[in-house]
Subunit: 256 residues, 2 copies
């Protein structure tokens, strides 16, 4: 068993991974939050990030499919509910599609996941596979990037509201809602990992799982940057900047 000191040192180690590797350090986010993105770049982010959102409940179902403990499944289930919601109002995925509409994209096109960059798919699919295949401790540890998410969501809400006319509460509802959901999820996941990682070997595995997840996030932004910022070379099959565009980004005044 770890001592209290060990537990605290391990917690600090996990936080340090976020400081070193979380994708809030990626220059694409600075561009996005400061108003430096073109409409095409914002749309490309919305299209590609949708793929990530769409796979999260599949990832959580893969996790639950491997839990034989009803308590753990019960605690985890709300993640799927958060993303999928109910038939009428939907959840996080449908809120993401409201953002797609706000930037002038056909939500049906976005939901089709056509045009998603192959590198985005590979990174996101690697996350789903990881959670399907690795020990439960590592699967939970890989979810702990949520520790670092609230700050990026807050910055994003403020930055988008300040710099982009399409940004209003409806368009940004996804992020607002995650600010409420993420702390509850991460509190559970963090306690689970701190409790179960009771040997150095397990701590190393959990830390590696969290680092892996930061790679998954970083890789998506690198792909986006490479295709739509610099060198700006769209790979075969990637969104061409026009498909699925149905109108100009919504102006804030016109928002309901």
């Amino acid at each position: 068993m770890t001592t209290a000191d060990d537990r605290q040192a391990f917690h600090a180690r996990l936080l340090e991974i976020g400081k070193q590797r979380y994708h809030d350090k990626h220059p694409f986010h600075a561009m996005l939050h400061s108003g430096g993105c073109t409409t095409t770049q914002v749309r490309a982010w919305v299209i590609n990030r949708y793929y990530y959102q769409s796979r999260i409940p599949m990832k959580d179902a893969a996790f639950m499919s491997r839990c034989d403990d009803p308590d753990l499944r019960r605690a985890w289930r709300s993640r799927i509910e958060d993303h999928d919601g109910d038939v009428e109002e939907g959840g996080g995925i449908r809120r993401w599609l409201r953002l797609a509409e706000a930037v002038g994209l056909d939500p049906t096109y976005v939901a089709s996941t056509k045009g998603v960059l192959p590198s985005t798919r590979f990174a996101v699919d690697a996350y789903v596979s990881f959670v399907r295949e690795k020990p439960l401790l590592e699967a939970v540890a890989s979810s702990l990037t949520e520790l670092f998410a609230p700050r990026i969501h807050s910055e994003r809400i403020a930055g988008l509201l300040e710099h982009y006319a399409f940004a209003d509460e409806s368009a940004l509802a996804y992020f607002r809602q995650r600010l409420a959901e993420a702390p509850r999820d991460v509190e559970f996941g963090l306690a689970f990992v701190l409790d179960r990682a009771d040997t150095r070997e397990k701590q190393d595995a959990a830390a590696a799982a969290l680092a892996f997840k930061t790679d998954v996030l970083w890789s998506q932004l690198d792909a986006l940057y490479s295709a739509y910022v610099s060198p700006g070379r769209i790979p075969p099959g990637g969104w061409d900047g026009t498909e699925g565009v149905v109108r100009e980004p919504r102006a804030r005044e016109a928002a309901e």
Copy 2:
């Protein structure tokens, strides 16, 4: 069943995918073959491409693990033998490590796969998962990028020999050997796919599998380009340009 005409049209469709999407169109290859790469860029390519080589026999084993036909397993088995070889002399993987030595890298470092770009891992692992999970027809179709490989290998041998002092027959043995192996593999795989894709639906699935595989290859070069050419931002965990470097690239005169 397809008619002979259908078969020919389907074959042409597969070749067209190569013309449109094979990674010989990626600017990194033009740089590499024309002598435009720095030593660091060549080393980064050797390190990252090693990860692909190292996973090919695992991919082929995943395929064979799903074949209940001994004839098919027998025909496929040589692919693993080609890459792994025998204990003393090794195979394609060990030939790749000779290239690593020629460019001044510690082969043990390269074989550790430390420093491989996360996006490279995600793309290559996606290929292994694809072959493990998809119908056999699609798994075989995804191997048909070998149809387009001989030309790129020939260009590579000529271009490296002409432009880089480290390039000699020992360093390039991997590519020379693949020129002999690939046509046999692809003859079998192509006949398999043309025979089994006997409905439009199966043809579509096989064509999509081949396009998927071109994405796997392209994504690796995009990752390399993004990290080491433009914008030249190495992601967290990626090779830093110095680790594993043990000497200058070998000069041809010094080659045994």
